[in-house]
Symmetry: C2
Subunit: 124 residues, 2 copies
DNA sequence: TCGAACCATCACATAGATGTGAAGGTCAAA
DNA sequence: TTTGACCTTCACATCTATGTGATGGTTCGA
């Protein structure tokens, strides 16, 4: 598919699809006329990229994470260097921190909303 | 305590402590000489702010979330406007999205690391 | 009283993600 | 064949969080 369709299906500005490509996150094929040609699977991938970006990960890290998510994962691991694995482990730790922080705050907000909503009628 | 101590205890550059204040996230008292005077409780608060920032929330949103976390929560809810509650609910939803995304990807990375590490010796 | 180590404000710079628009090529339908 | 809706690259602008440094006041110990 071309960039316009991918843009619509993922809710992502074309500008950003080109940006993600520039950062090496996605690699579309090219048609004879130079138009980008996106594989169907890139729909999910783009959504995932946006999710990670929104969760605070920079493109540089996302680029390293994405290969872990490919389905026939087995193929990749010969090229995993030790420091690459250490980086991944570090990012995994940071992701856990983020999850912990978000969960704690989400719970607090939820509780707050519960209290406010239940007390709405009887407030002084 | 003064800004230097808070900076050290939270691992946050002074510059950013002033920035968070500028954004209305923390409100230190002032000594007679103009120095900022931080309450003990701001240590936790700053750590929390940094966690949320790292998880992708902008200061504008964090500012709205922080009042939900105060311990005697009860005091606040008379001033909660409906659209304020809607905003909070929206942010809660987004936080859940982030948690889901992070968790999914964390699990994938974890599994990847397991596979790579266990296959390290026997790789082709 | 002097110097070191704090503090203050202000300002300018950077980096990353994103917005916006110009200038021009491709293609299909009227 | 022309028009409109795509696409291309390029460039400059914006916003947010951050880095860095200038300039100057305060405090305290040597």
């Amino acid at each position: 598919m071309r960039i316009g369709e991918l843009s619509e299906r993922t809710g992502t500005p074309r500008r950003l699809l080109r940006y993600y490509e520039e950062q090496g996150l996605i690699v579309p094929a090219r048609c004879a006329n130079g138009y980008r040609d996106y594989d169907e699977r890139l729909v999910d991938r783009v959504v995932q990229i946006r999710g990670l970006l929104d969760a605070g990960l920079p493109t540089r890290i996302i680029k390293q994470i994405l290969p872990c998510l490919d389905k026939p994962r087995v193929i990749h691991f010969p090229d995993a260097t030790p420091e690459m694995l250490a980086t991944l482990q570090g990012e995994l730790d940071r992701m856990n921190d983020r999850i912990t922080c978000l969960t704690r705050n989400r719970d607090a907000i939820e509780e707050y909303l519960d209290v406010v909503r239940s007390g709405e009628r009887s407030a002084s």
